[in-house]
Amino acid sequence: MAAFNELIHQTVRLRIMSALASLSEDAKVDFTYLKKLLALSDGNLGAHLLKLEEAAYLTQEKTFVDRKPRTYLQLTQEGRKAFLEHVAALRELLGEE
């Protein structure tokens, strides 16, 4: 039986995890790009990223590109596994798996 994940199920965090999980495992996504993609404010995205980072579901890497500060986000293996389990739990609830 797959595990339902309360932390991931929150609407914004579910969208963040869905976006990051839809990319290849090595993909690192720019904070601003994700913010625009999900139509979120800096503060809102930042707060939810912190919760996901505390759960070790993603990492934030601060760096410079062309001398401008950039933050890249990457799903951890643990985060990807938790997300996939959560999706499986949702499907099980609907009798799809």
Binding site: H9, S18, S22, T32, Y33, L37, V87, L93, L94
Partner: protein
């Protein structure tokens, strides 16, 4: 423990599906729209100028190809430098796509050399069909149905133009419907896949 209703689960899965599709589309949108729109402009320019100055066809297409592919290369490099998504797997895919188009364009040139006695309008149709086959294969490979639809429709439009019109009017037909057939889907992707 939060007790989830089937409706909530269904809604969550729909959200996941929507965001997954939106993310993949947004990532593809930049290079796809540039490729389609630039290709469309290249055809509009190339075919309409060839219609007006048929004796200069070779020079016109050479100039159009240099400008068009040059712009695509600069745009692609600019997008790579922006680095919105960094991924070795994605870089590898881009290299494969680049090699794929290199092979297609190489074979288009070889086919032109293989059939030197072919009527120039039939050669144009052959080139269009080869390029559109490449669009269809890319669409299947990258799971982008839009490319399959564009490839099939433009091939049919080009074929109809060759059958129904004189060779010179076929050039004008291709400038409008061939070039437009690439440009408009590119514009759609640019505006709607963000």
């Amino acid at each position: 423990m939060h007790h989830l209703s089937p409706d909530e689960a269904r809604q969550a899965l729909a959200d996941i599906d929507h965001i997954t599709r939106q993310t993949r589309r947004a990532l593809a949108a930049g290079s796809l729209s540039t490729g389609l729109m630039t290709g469309g402009i290249m055809w509009m320019l190339g075919y309409s100028l060839t219609f007006l100055f048929p004796a200069k066809a070779d020079w016109i297409w050479l100039a159009v190809a240099i400008l068009g592919f040059g712009y695509m290369a600069v745009d692609g490099y600019g997008r790579y430098r922006q680095g919105m998504v960094r991924s070795a797997a994605s870089n590898q895919l881009h290299a494969q796509v680049f090699a794929f188009w290199g092979a297609v364009l190489g074979y288009v040139l070889i086919l032109c050399l293989m059939f030197p006695r072919l009527h120039w309008a039939d050669r144009q149709l052959l080139i269009v069909a080869m390029l559109m086959l490449a669009y269809v294969l890319m669409g299947i490979w990258l799971r982008t149905p839009l490319l399959v639809i564009v490839g099939v429709l433009v091939t049919l439009v080009a074929w109809a133009g060759r059958v129904l019109l004189t060779p010179y009017h076929f050039l004008l037909w291709m400038a409008i419907f061939g070039g437009g057939g690439l440009f408009l889907p590119g514009l759609y992707v640019k505006l709607r896949w963000k």
